[in-house]
């Protein structure tokens, strides 16, 4: 099964775990499994419309999945998917 790595800020919403091993054939499946298992994670990953928040980025190894097939990017057993936030702000 693919492995989802949770960044430090989101670990409190996944019972403190840094990695989750979840079933799924594409990135979207793994995210759905993650928020089904840990519902409080959902509001930090998805907005009220159910879309991935703009600062949530997913990397398969060194590659941003946006440069692959986005949420439809296929995953294999043992693939490591990282959630990496981008940070924005201003006045």
């Amino acid at each position: 099964m693919p492995i989802l790595k949770i960044p430090t800020p989101l670990r409190p919403y996944a019972e403190g775990q840094s990695t989750l091993t979840l079933p799924g054939e594409i990135v979207e499946d793994v995210l759905e499994q993650a928020v089904d298992t840990y519902p409080t994670l959902k509001k930090h990953l998805f907005n009220d419309e159910g879309n991935l928040r703009p600062f949530v980025n997913l990397f398969l190894g060194e590659e941003n999945v946006n440069q692959l097939e986005g949420l439809k990017t296929p995953l294999s057993d043992g693939d490591i998917l990282l959630i990496i936030p981008s940070i924005a702000g201003g006045i």
């Binding site: 960044p7 430090t8 800020p9 989101l10 409190p12 509001k43 930090h44 703009p54 600062f55 980025n57 990397f59 060194e62 941003n64 990282l82 990496i84 936030p85 981008s86 940070i87 924005a88 702000g89 201003g90 006045i91």
Partner: protein, 141 residues
Amino acid sequence: MKIHIPSHLLDKIQTHGESTYPNEGAGLMLGKEENGIRVVESLIFLENAREEENQHNRYLITAEDMLQGEKEASRRSSSILGIFHSHPDHPNLPSEYDREFAIPWYSYLITSVYKSKPSASRCWRLEDGRESFSEESIQAI
């Protein structure tokens, strides 16, 4: 909530805000958290990745920079505790835009820079409900 920052690092954050004025400057604070107290050990200064015409009131740290920051933190046996950024000619309070894009847990240190001179810095953390920030007291050490 408390965050301890060595004085020389706080000075560097403020000098960075001065150097990027009239644009916003930003970077990462690395360190450790023990017994509920965060201690900043080092900094990573980053380029503001927003388009140049928007850098006067916006900053962006890309996911690629965050990924490198995570790796660097790991090399330093440290963690990313939070983000510092400047508010040119504005108060050191989180804006609505800051709130919209903020991530819980991280410490957000904001430095006001008025007419190119840095003034005070204050630090904030997003509440779990994402609706507001709480102030985290800064202690210079």
